[in-house]
């Protein structure tokens, strides 16, 4: 199994993640790379759900639940953020479990609609007056920083994010190469057939939901403790539900590396372009995405492997 997991691509991905701070030791760049890693984790969480044949247009709900739980645990109980970023997402997973059970029978657009609405419902609950004593409504609350104010804290910050990103990436790889992953793939390809082959589709779909929502919550917790140091109900915005989809599609849908590659390429392209092109940057990303969907549905990772194989003269 280990040989199957660690191919050349996998080692390259991990090496790049570890080496980035040595190539760009600038604090500003490290902040940006940390942000990209948070979105890479978030996109990987969304990707796992898609791998099991389910699609979510409301993953911001879990990003937000994980973040709020972690911030509130750190603030009200006084636990260190390094601990709460792992405890908070448990709430996201529990709510993901509940939603997963509810939407079991829904497919495609219907599932997309209910999950989309779910993030709005969660937002409405968070800003409700009866929860104001905890969440302070639309005002939001401050989040404790992941690492205290030491010198070079961006370095620490980046390596915490990178460690967790590599961890999540390894989890994805292990899932893909295990019985769990084969079950997901079978459900994705043909649910009825999977059921006939003796796969407990209900159980596996719920497991996919729980893993995915836990990891989305983890990304949310990292986002508020490591990047923004602040949380408000804006985290449940529609844009936040669409980002993982955009990154994953660009990189390669249902591939383990796709979300990481997509997050890096799109974020860097966006930052580089928007400095001089303004709104045209996102416009270009929109066109790029449409081209990927229509002409290269397997994403950039597939193009990249094909190009390297061509250069190295290998047949696939």
């Amino acid at each position: 199994m280990m040989n199957k997991i660690f191919g050349k691509i996998q080692i390259a991905v991990i090496a790049v993640l570890i080496l980035i701070p040595l190539l760009f030791p600038d604090a500003y760049y490290l902040q940006i790379f940390s942000l990209i890693l948070v979105f890479a984790i978030y996109s990987m969480s969304w990707n796992i759900l898609t791998y099991s044949g389910q699609v979510s247009l409301g993953h911001a709900a879990f990003l937000g639940i994980g973040a709020y739980s972690s911030v509130l645990l750190a603030k009200n109980i006084g636990l260190p953020p390094l601990l709460t970023i792992f405890i908070g997402p448990i709430f996201a997973a529990v709510i993901g479990l509940a939603l997963g059970i509810i939407v079991l029978r829904l497919r495609e657009w219907f599932l997309a609609m209910v999950t989309f609405g779910f993030s709005l419902i969660v937002q409405a609950i968070i800003v409700d007056d009866r929860l104001r004593f905890l969440t302070d409504g639309w005002n939001g609350i401050f989040a404790k920083p992941l690492v205290g104010y030491i010198s070079n804290y961006q370095f620490m910050n980046y390596y915490i994010m990178a460690t967790i990103t590599i961890g999540v990436y390894l989890i994805t790889l292990i899932i893909y190469n295990s019985k769990l992953g084969y079950a997901f793939k079978a459900i994705d390809e043909n649910e009825t057939l999977a059921k006939i082959s003796g796969i407990n589709t209900t159980l596996y779909k719920i497991i996919a939901f729980m893993i995915s929502t836990y990891l989305a919550g983890l990304a949310g917790a990292l986002y508020v403790h490591g990047i923004t140091l602040f949380i408000s109900p804006e985290i449940f915005n529609v844009q936040n539900s669409f980002w993982p989809l955009i990154f994953t599609l660009a990189g390669g849908l249902k591939t383990p590396e796709g979300p990481i590659l997509g997050a890096f390429v799109i974020w860097i392209a966006w930052i580089q372009l928007s400095s001089f092109a303004g709104y045209l940057a996102l416009l270009a990303i929109g066109f790029f995405l449409a081209i990927i969907i229509i002409f290269a549905p397997k994403g950039l990772i597939d193009l990249l492997t094909r190009i390297t194989n061509r250069i190295l003269g290998r047949q696939i």
């Binding site: 699609v55 829904l106 495609e108 409405a124 800003v127 709104y279 940057a281 929109g286 995405l289």
Partner: protein, 299 residues
């Protein structure tokens, strides 16, 4: 009990009236989505961006030529209708027949494209991107009905919508074009065998849907201030409406839209503003949990 009693007060009637106006916009959006869905069996999540495009086209021509927005609505509908046909050809035709998720994905690409091309245009023309509101000759004046104030704009919107819906009904039900459209919607293959060019029907239905969205958008810009991002939510709510009202059902879309407008306004008055956007999806989720294929869907 207090809430119940207040239902009979004057403010209750004004809540109903405002809900009705918002409901008209939902109805028009849902109607357009439903025609597209009926013919193409495709869902366009970027319908709201097409609506905002219609609103901006009306707004720009009206500020440029100093003409009242109400007179420009047909022009905006024609422009957006033609753009809609182009969008169908470029974005939706290539992915037809592939995975249903691709429709959602391509819609999201389309959302980015339309929002940012609009924002860039506004930046070039107005030098800043901020919410705008269209003013008409009726803006500011209203009719008094007891203690209830009915803005004249809203009454004109009600009237124009009714006229459009009647024209629309006649076209769909009484003309040979309408018959072809309904035939394609009922059975695509049979319609194709009868000599109907279903590919062209796809394009035309998308154009009609986009034109209805432009109508909705122009009204939206008259009653609300809007920016490039205000379209996403109303359109996705409109999709919730057509799931509830029956995919492909025209009366379902119109009635569903009005009911949602009323429900939202009542929710806003009783549960608070944040629930306004959530209520449509709360109802949708409950209905879909009980009946996973929608109220009128086949099991």
């Amino acid at each position: 009990m207090i809430i119940f009693l207040s239902f009979f007060s004057e403010s209750f009637y004004s809540i109903l009236f405002w809900g009705l106006i918002i409901g008209i916009i939902y109805s028009l959006l849902a109607l357009g989505l439903n025609i597209i869905f009926g013919v193409m069996k495709v869902v366009n999540f970027a319908h709201g961006e097409i609506m905002i495009m219609g609103a901006y086209i009306t707004y720009f021509i009206s500020t440029l030529l100093n003409i009242d927005p109400f007179f420009l609505i047909p022009i905006s509908m024609i422009i957006v209708g033609l753009l809609g046909m182009g969008i169908e050809k470029v974005f939706f035709r290539p992915i037809k027949g592939t995975s249903k998720l691709n429709e959602i994905f391509v819609s999201i690409a389309l959302i980015l494209i339309i929002q940012n091309s609009l924002a860039q245009t506004i930046l070039e023309v107005n030098k800043e991107v901020k919410p705008v509101l269209m003013t008409t000759i009726f803006s500011g004046s209203s009719i008094e009905l007891g203690s209830l104030l009915l803005p004249l704009n809203y009454l004109v919107i009600l009237l124009v919508t009714s006229i459009f819906l009647i024209i629309f009904y006649v076209i769909i039900m009484k003309t040979s074009f309408g018959r072809r459209l309904r035939a394609t919607s009922q059975n695509r293959n049979a319609a194709n065998l009868m000599g109907i060019n279903v590919g062209r029907m796809d394009m035309i239905s998308f154009g009609i849907g986009a034109a209805l969205a432009a109508l909705a958008g122009s009204f939206f810009g008259i009653i609300n201030s809007f920016d490039v991002y205000s379209g996403t939510l109303p359109a996705i709510k409109a999709f919730a409406i057509i799931i509830l009202g029956g995919l492909g059902s025209i009366p379902g879309a119109i009635i569903g839209g009005l009911v949602l407008g009323l429900t939202e306004n009542i929710t806003d008055a009783t549960l608070g503003g944040a629930w306004r956007d959530a209520i449509a999806f709360l109802i949708l989720s409950i209905v879909l949990i009980i009946r996973p294929s929608g109220i009128f869907g086949k099991e």
